[in-house]
Point group: C2
Chain length 361, copies 2
Amino acid sequence: MTMTSAAIHEDMGTRIEEALRQRFVHHSAAAETYGSEFAALWRAAADHSLGGKLVRPRLLLDIHRALTLGDPSTLTPAAVEVAAHIELLHYAFLLHDDVIDGDLTRRKRPNLIGTLAAGTPAATEEGALHWARSSAILMGDLLLTAAVMGFARADVSADVRARLLDLVEETIVETVAGEHTDVALSHGIIAPDLTTILSMSVYKTATYSFSLPLRAAALLAGSSTSAERTLTSIGRHIGLAYQLQDDLLCVFGDHRSHGKDAYSDLREGKETAIIAYARSTGSWADIAPRFGSADLSLGDAEELRDLLRTCGAEAFVTDLVGDQLDAVHTLLADAQLTGEIGTDAAHTILSTVSRLEGRRA
Amino acid sequence: MTMTSAAIHEDMGTRIEEALRQRFVHHSAAAETYGSEFAALWRAAADHSLGGKLVRPRLLLDIHRALTLGDPSTLTPAAVEVAAHIELLHYAFLLHDDVIDGDLTRRKRPNLIGTLAAGTPAATEEGALHWARSSAILMGDLLLTAAVMGFARADVSADVRARLLDLVEETIVETVAGEHTDVALSHGIIAPDLTTILSMSVYKTATYSFSLPLRAAALLAGSSTSAERTLTSIGRHIGLAYQLQDDLLCVFGDHRSHGKDAYSDLREGKETAIIAYARSTGSWADIAPRFGSADLSLGDAEELRDLLRTCGAEAFVTDLVGDQLDAVHTLLADAQLTGEIGTDAAHTILSTVSRLEGRRA
């Protein structure tokens, strides 16, 4: 029996969710030993973690299936496990990111910290926040550990496991380096030039969100080292395109549809590629005084948006996105010519890219 | 050629330090790729981490040697590696602990956060602290990852490695649960009764500081499961004794000799076994109003100390320490009778205990 593409996609989502749910059930049960507060923390983490779009694990399984030309029944449990643990790694990064950024919401709803702070019987608001942030640091540690454990325990050959361990370690170091650079940028400790901002974006987001699932899929499918290298580059380009697209949406997008806080990057003074370009133009003198004001009015924000448009920053970053997508197409075409990557895998990657292009509207 | 006990001890210390130094050199070199700030963070972490007393890795190697009856030349590189990675885990816990506790010093010198905050070009003091704390969260993540990797890559049989992974995961979960309980206690979210405080101490400190090295040594030496279980219990009792002894020293000790801030626990309102006992006595009404005052004068602190002495808290906790040590002696005697633990290993454990007894003065 063959399954339709949509049915396969749904089946994979179900299997990943099931694997994730099992992890949380296991940890929540083990947590009971340590008292009700610790068990409650695990349950809250599960509530906030489950129900996401599972972009990263789905990408791994889609590419793995394409690389092995298998139907979903041949999907190895090891691939599902590794995919689920990449999602746990994602949650771990989000938690420590939210602590560092002082965020209490994510996509307009309370994040784990916001929920814990609101529900705590701590005496003061400061105490409630400290309790919530400390809990988030600790839950991040637990999820980070769980994620690495998933790689260390993967039911694959010793050689593949050793390479998976190298991959996840390299990924964590690079992601943390990207986050560290982001914090340094936010304090003016390093200069916000375009090159720094672009590599920070690759390190902080693209590497773990795109290169990691692609490379893990290649490793688990027994692909060649050169195919893995090509997928690493492809992942970086797709990830950077996603991040730049996110930056564009926040400033120039339709805020009713993309679910983010309108102009939040401008209020927070976030150093993006848009801003790096604008700094090099004559319009910066008009933008600078209001950039990073927490109480920026809607009118002021719209004026900044218009300035960023007329100074050429929007067009520049839109072109950068195009460059990334062109690079993906070129890498894929070359890899198909040499037979490094098959038609199915190329098709799967291109459909990920086209979902990205759909977000441009 | 046989080595004296002191020479063996020194040789082990050198080998652990060398293994740790190599880890930091490796990571610092890899960090250069991500810019000078990230490389500087690794160097600062190395400065703050190296040069410690290496209590945990030394305990592992001492017991491992005793269990295998080997001379130091038979010391497996795997044991040295696992020992060094236990020290990295210790640093990771300390860093996140310091972030959560808001500490800028450790043993009267600036900790990593204090050093980074003092050296940063961030514009405001608040900015400098945020930069330093964010860096410490991120370095903790890196060291936690590195520690788990050390277990995952141990050069031992697949079976021993699987058991080492279970051990380190269990240890991390338990330690984090202990820290979480400690934070909950500090906010009055859970009641500070004696049972909670004693199990918190075991979870937060004893498990990773004593049970982990003892159990890892047993696993690496191929000891029986029952020997491992006995060593787990012994580790908990020794660790709890150490923690209680620390609590006693902070309030009743000679502050010129133990290197801690005099009465800091009383100023911070730390929920210890001493305080849990005092709460149950008539003296609590006199202690409570001043307990946890950040600006407690030396005179007031000394008065609290005297109240804690006369109400019986000092004697009660001193007895608790004695109970822990008695339990160790009983467990060891039984294990020697059944042959579960040999004379050498028992002797090594007793010398650890006697170093603890030396701290009572």
